[in-house]
Amino acid sequence: MSEAPREVVTDSGIPLQPVYVADSVADGLEERLGLPGKPPFTRGPYPTMYRERLWTMRQYAGYGSAEDTNARYRFLLAQGQTALSVAFDLPTQLGYDSTDPEVASEVGRVGVAIDTVEDMETVFDGLPIDQLSVNFTINATAPIILAFYLVAAERQGVARKDVAGTLQNDILKEFLARKTFIFPPEESIRLVADVVEYASAELPRFNGISITGYHAREAGCDAVQEVGLTMASAIAYSQAFLARGLDFDFFAPRLSFHFSSQLDLFEEAAKVRAARRMWHRLATERFGAKKENSARLRFFSGCSGATLTAQQPLNNVVRSTLQCLAAVLGGAQSIHVMGYDEALEIPTEESVRLALRTQQIIAHESGVAKVIDPLAGSYYVESLTDEIERRAWALVEKVDAGGGLVELLAQGVPQRWVAESAYAYERQILSGERVKVGVNKYTDGSDVAPPLFEIDETAGDRQREKLRARIAARDAQAVGESLADLGRALDEGANTMPYIMQCGRVGATLGEIADTMRSRFGRYREPQPW
């Protein structure tokens, strides 16, 4: 007796036919596709896409002190990188100064330490802000980092209208997956809205939020859940901004998105095509968008760290190449490729250069960027795009029925979905149902670690010394007054951005500003996972 053949499924478990034919695609494809740059934007947000301009090559980088990070940025730009993406250390992400004894060992460890506006000025020393597009991976302290950056821009003589880039500023996915929240949800969303309101009014080239499915995916959910949860987040934010009295067409054109790119090539490309179509429908049908730009989903694609392996680390170069290709086939506006050594340590200069070269080879040698949305019309890809959309809408409806994403996060429900998916993934690797080359198949003992990045243990002390000198030299009275003004703005519900910028100008530290918020908002503790 032979075993029944095992069902063949995509990475997220969608059953697959052996071959797709014309009848595999439901009627009405033309309407579901449109043309690139035209509703419903399935084929891309812009009419010319990579014909006019390649995607932005944006490697996530930052470590040690502001001087160390400035040096890495100069290196990356000299290698042909076209924009920057700032990684912050955990004390900066969680609102502690480098001098706080509780966090001493974390200073400069996973990103750059920013305590004051002067650190931000140093990071961009010699790099003209009006000629850069900068992504900031920062959330709970996003208003402080944006304020410090705008003050640094002022000091370079750059007008706000010329400041370009993206602030991650997506606190909901911190509760869901990334876990660098500080304040409870309601107060956190108020700060997100302060930034989005300010950026929509003052910063025409800047995205005040990047609504993110990437981290839930990295934490274990599948591609369908990633799209569904991202749309649920976009709904929750839109509702919060509308409740504040903002017009949808005021903020929606500057909403940006962030997805993961993993290894199931066609599913990953289909996923973002489905996401663009879904956001168009939400924006126009649910929120009544009048401007076309309000329904045009633009996204940053982050290649996946969770799919990389510590075993046979050079294999990760191949995995990253496939992930970058998937992001390009999906029509990403900017892309980050992981270093092959990131399962072991922050990447070396050599590994970062190879990640950037991966993007450049796909852009200039592979030919895939020559034609817009080259997968369109594929029976398989169109059928998969439709099926991902169908399943992701079902998840959006489930979240709606549960009272919305904010309510479900407070109960810990989507966090459990993500953790259960992560556990299921591990069990599939254990059973051999899911093959990881070099992990559960083709293991050969060649797991020797490559030369790793060497941490400079003096970075923390250098940073603390600088901060102490600055605090001794500043006008303490001006700092006290600006922090008191910020406190009043927090109490009265005013937009905090101008007050935080004033704090930054007079030398208040990130920790002092965060403490002013903590003293009013308190700190959030997450629900138990089981």
């Binding site: 955990l90 974390e106 460890r109 876990k179 274990g220 510590a310 953790a419 591990e426 670690a449 503790r525």
Partner: protein, 140 residues
């Protein structure tokens, strides 16, 4: 003094420091539960005194830390000191996460009983934690 052998080990898991990557510790926690352990997950940003307090209250057989932000040496040293000060020398401590190969022996030299760098197969992690719980005590 070593403890009696345990049938259903009690494992206290925690994320020390500021790191929020909790995919690994939750997967390990679920696998330990499925293997029959009682698992108490304390959550994020746990300080050494908080972990020691929970280990006392829960009568832990093993304490497991997960660190993916590179500060494993510092936080492990803090916890082991706090354990000694609280008279918990006999509760073994294990550490998992993004740990470069060269740091495995450094962690063990500090007194960490076992280390599970990224890439350690899940059944190995479970089996080794159960073995450690059965052996009890810090002497090895």
């Amino acid at each position: 003094m070593s403890r009696p052998a345990v049938v259903r080990p009690r494992i206290v898991l925690a994320k020390p420091g500021l790191d929020g990557h909790d995919r690994g510790i939750k997967v390990v926690g679920m696998a330990l539960r499925d293997a029959g352990a009682e698992v108490v997950y304390l959550g994020l940003q746990q300080t050494a005194p908080q972990i020691v307090g929970a280990a006392l209250a829960e009568d832990a057989d093993v304490i497991g830390l997960s660190v993916l932000s590179g500060v494993h040496l510092a936080v492990a040293a803090q916890l082991l000191t706090a354990c000694r000060e609280a008279g918990l020398d006999d509760v073994p401590v294990v550490v998992g996460g993004t740990i470069p190969p060269t740091d495995v022996d450094r962690l063990k030299a500090l007194g960490v009983r076992d280390v599970f760098p990224v890439g350690t197969p899940l059944p190995d992690v479970v089996e080794r934690i159960f073995d450690i719980a059965r052996q009890g005590g810090r002497s090895s």
